[in-house]
Amino acid sequence: MEKSINIKVKVWRQAGPKVKGMFETYELNNISTDASFLEMIDILNEKLVQEHKEPIAFDHDCREGICGMCSLYINGHPHGPDQAITTCQLHMRKFHDGETITIEPWRSRAFPVIKDLIVDRNAYDKIMQAGGYVNVNTGGIPDANAIPIPKPVADEAMDAASCIGCGACAAACKNGSAMLFVAAKVSQLALLPQGKIEKAARAKAMVAKMDELGFGNCTNTGACEAECPKSVSITHIARLNREYIGAKFKD
């Protein structure tokens, strides 16, 4: 059943990386509760353009929860108040009439703001470049059962692979740690035969890059898992610790 609500949106505006940012509040009337959150910002931007004001810059791409491009820290939660979804999957029915919605960019030393709500998430790409791959070409899709992999292992690898690298884990973490992301990427490859061979070198290289980029130290609060749009489990972090400590003791 369609319903409209009137809301206030408090948005972080920052003209550029070096400029000091601040909040600005906009009023929006008659927003359909069936609208998605990003559509609501589209409506707001259209309004701003008509008023000859600078529209709000924000990241978005597929708008179906798989690309990991959308971000936004909404009312104190990355990807908004709902759990296990991305911002693009959030709808206005989660908010009530008269509510003031606060929208902030990811805030982490390793994710500097580019403009308004857009942050530079290259740090995650750099971690991937440090070792988040298999060094040899493993060919096309192998025949089923050519390389037997136990179902629980395959499932675990698949769960880790569901990470879309959006950065919500580091954004949610009180320590600004990227451990859930790195753990998911390391786990995904370490569990499967193609990635197993390089698992020690990979864990060391990716953790070293993560530390170098200024991410914090994990203290197992579990905020990352609670806010992860794909509910990636922090047990992957235990696996990363295991791989890393094991590799260091072997050296």
């Binding site: 902030e104 030393r109 530390d211 130290n217 203290t219 197992n220 905020a223 295991r242």
Partner: protein
């Protein structure tokens, strides 16, 4: 050195020192519990752990563990604060899954260390320290009471204010351990989906057991003083 230079290495040091300290607390708590069962046996333990070489080695080892655990905690907390970035979130709320203890480990740790200094003054300074001082030719405190731990316990907890102070302290330790124990095992990599709930449960049991051992002593001696009408505000 990866133990200092890498984030997982630093956490590894926190885990190992933390687990060692929990084991010490279990030992300490069990020992104290003896004081309820038999004050004479407790004093025998006090005598056994006086200024002997093995007890001194143990004391120095413990001090080292505490210093390491605290120093690393300080460095980690500072680094983590900086990693959050210059601009802080305006609105920050956390999910129910994130425990109070896990967000406040450093604050709880500072509280624990603060009360620990008071505790060292209450007991260690009057017991092992007096023995050491006398061996080195100094003349501080009363040597005849230096191994009479049961006496010092009954005097301290005859003061209800000290009972409350110690119970608050033990509360902080309980919170610290409910996160600390499972988190230490997790950092060592000893966790998976099946063991996740079990390890948290084990952590809670260990935390509760450790704290209950100490609480029993406070309540026993505090209660005894109140029953006998011998409460006394000795500082």
């Amino acid at each position: 050195m990866w133990l200092i230079n890498s984030s997982i290495g630093r956490k590894f040091v926190m885990s190992i020192t933390g687990i060692a300290l929990v084991l010490f607390l279990l030992f300490h708590g069990t020992m104290n519990f003896v004081a309820i069962l038999s004050p004479e046996s407790y004093n025998a333990i006090c005598h056994f752990l006086g200024a002997n070489w093995y007890a001194l080695v143990g004391t120095v080892g413990l001090a080292l563990l505490v210093v390491l655990h605290f120093t690393f905690a300080f460095i980690l907390t500072w680094q983590n604060y900086k990693a959050r970035g210059r601009d802080r979130y305006d609105v920050a709320s956390s999910r129910g899954e994130v425990s109070f203890a896990s967000k406040n480990m450093f604050v709880l740790g500072v509280i624990i260390i603060g009360f620990m200094l008071l505790h060292l003054y209450n007991f260690w300074f009057k017991m092992q320290f007096v023995e050491i001082a006398h061996k080195m030719g100094g003349d501080i405190g009363d040597l005849s009471l230096a191994t009479d731990g049961a006496y010092y316990i009954s005097v301290l907890f005859a003061n209800p204010v000290y009972c409350v102070i110690y119970l608050i302290w033990l509360g902080a330790i309980w919170y610290h351990l409910t996160h600390g124990v499972w988190s230490a095992l997790h950092t060592l990599g000893l966790n998976n989906k099946i063991w996740f709930g079990r390890i948290k449960c084990i952590g809670n049991i260990v935390a509760t057991l450790v704290v209950l051992l100490f609480v029993a002593v406070v309540l026993h001696f505090g209660g005894q003083a109140i029953m006998n009408g011998t409460t006394d505000y000795v500082w």
